[in-house]
Amino acid sequence: MSSSISITDVGRVYTDTDGNKVTALQDVSLDIREGEFVSIIGPSGCGKTTLLRLIAGLDKPRSGSLTIDGRDITDVSPERGYVFQQGGLFPWLTVEKNIAYGLRARKVFKREREKVSEYISMVGLDGFEKSYPHQISGGMAQRVAIARALINEPKALLLDEPMGALDSFTRSDLQDKLLELWKHKRITMILVTHDIDEAIYLSDRIVIMTPRPGRINRIIDVDLPRPRHRGGSEFLAMRKEILELFRLAQAEPQPEYMI
């Protein structure tokens, strides 16, 4: 129930409101294997969301191509679930109805309605079925968003900083939940994050991006056995290595900021 995604020489240029061209992505190539857990990290503005939107089919590249299982990605599809960076829930629907949305949209609600309570329990939201999004916490809202994406049983799940706004306890809780889901459903996971620890803890591979223009700087394999320990020496070594990469990337001369 998973699929491979390949991204070849993809570029995307935005024109901002002043008419300036912003190269959000340049020559990005990446192959993601079936059932792989890939994290994308990089500083703000390096094109992570842009890349994820291209994979989802929400946006089209200016150059290059994106395929899933060999087919071109031309439009959105329920087989690629998406969790937005923030506030992706429908505020006018209850938790339960938000989660059931995909079933209704695909007109299978009558047949598969018992899945709703199953997915509510899966993300630990029993008792909050009738709450509206503004009545639950940010962490709960992200769990709703994840359940809502998963109920369609997608082959790949694209997550745009789903834990960006959470405190560290809720965050590690949700990370474990995500790992559990991934193991259980064997979906291809693509996670955008700012958090190096999170990337190491969760992924098979970490894609490091740098901004202006947004491109892939390095791809790191995380060969640590699971479950991983955040305090382990290999973990910390890898963390140091990645931090070093960022430091180097930032140390490149940037004349306009030099006095």
Partner: protein, 362 residues
């Protein structure tokens, strides 16, 4: 040993609970007495109004007419003062009962208490009006009759007023429901299709500022009868306003909501029905309530200017006969009717937009 300790602990707890509840009971008993005083205070104004009507000397020369009514087959004779006292007693009963009903709910108690002073003042105002309008007749006549005379209008004209009320209701219901349906429909089209927006929106914007009654000459000459003419005018004033706001609500739907829905497998119609329209709901209701106020105006105006019935027509007719007490009677009915309609719309709005509760500042 352990269980003993637990037993002692729980015994202590039970005692404490008892103490607390006893304390609370005392507290609530005092509260109840206080609240009963509130109820008394609320109704005492109307009670004073009754006393004034009964015992204040009738010095001015006002005819206190006698009416015979047929109530459940019984032939009852009563003066207009009797009828007035009956209404006051009914008010006392209603407010006393609503006070008793509020007794066990903190929120309704607070609301009731807040209204007490106003309701008391209302009773006193009625008493003063009675003295000034009927007992001493201090005001210019026939423009300012007393409360008993206003009630006389219902005794004299009851079924005729009811007939006109029904006529108004029919006009309003036909016009407003049509206006809402057409307004929401056009608003969705304008908000969703850029082409429709381009061609229709400017027209709507310009015609929308013209008060609906300005179209009356056309309506009266071009439409087959005066009823349909009035319906047309109400439709116009509801239609433009609601279409305008509906379109705005649809257009302001965040792109991310559409994207989320599309990824989840929604069809194009699904996007309209389950994303755009729910998002526009608050604006649609803003449109409906402001259109509603305009619809009342249009309704009464068109009734005054060329309808064979309706409360506006009744007012006009009464004015011709200088029966200002009837004019007032009709105005009271309008106030009650329109508030009731507003209340119903407010209820529907609150239910539909319950997902917003707590998000917006009250």
């Amino acid at each position: 040993m352990n269980t003993d300790a637990a037993a002692v602990l729980s015994a202590v707890q039970v005692k404490e609970n008892k103490a607390v509840s006893a304390h609370e009971k005392g507290h609530s008993r005092r509260n109840n007495t206080y609240f009963f005083l509130r109820i008394l205070f609320t109704v005492s104004g109307f009670f004073i109004a009754i006393l004034v009507n009964l015992f204040f000397p009738q010095t001015a020369d006002v005819e206190i007419k006698d009416y015979r009514l047929n109530i459940f087959g019984m032939n009852v004779g009563l003066t207009i003062n009797d009828a007035y006292i009956f209404v006051l007693s009914a008010l006392i009963l209603v407010y006393a009962l609503s006070g008793v009903r509020a007794l066990n709910d903190k929120d309704s108690r607070r609301k009731y208490s807040r209204n007490a002073a106003f309701r008391f003042a209302l009773g006193i105002a009625l008493a003063l009006w009675d003295i000034g309008g009927t007992k001493l007749q201090l005001f210019a006549q026939p423009f300012f009759p007393g409360p008993a005379q206003v009630i006389e209008a219902y005794l004299a004209d009851g079924s005729y007023i009811a007939e006109n009320l029904l006529y108004s209701l029919r006009l309003y219901a036909a016009g407003f429901s049509c206006g809402v349906i057409m307004g929401v429909g056009t608003g969705i089209l304008i908000g969703w299709f850029p082409k429709v927006y381009y061609w229709v929106f400017p027209v709507l914007k310009i015609t929308g500022v013209v008060p609906a009654v300005a179209w009356m000459p056309f309506a009266l000459t071009l439409l087959p009868n005066s009823f349909s003419a009035a319906v047309f005018l109400i439709v116009i004033c509801a239609w433009f306003q609601i279409a305008f706001l509906t379109a705005q609500g649809i257009q302001s739907t965040p792109r991310q909501n559409y994207e989320a829905a599309r990824i989840l497998g929604s069809s194009q119609t699904g996007l309209i029905l389950h994303v755009a329209i729910p998002h526009a709901m608050p604006d649609i209701f803003t449109g409906i309530s402001s259109a509603n106020a305009m619809a009342f105006t249009t309704l009464v105006m068109s009734e005054m200017l060329g309808q064979p019935g309706g409360l506006g027509y009744y007012i006009n007719q009464s004015k011709v006969w200088s029966a200002y007490y009837k004019v007032l009677a009709a105005i009271v009915i309008m106030a009650v009717l329109f508030s009731l309609i507003n209340h119903i719309i407010g209820r529907i709005q609150k239910h539909t937009l319950r997902w917003q509760e707590g998000v917006l500042k009250k």
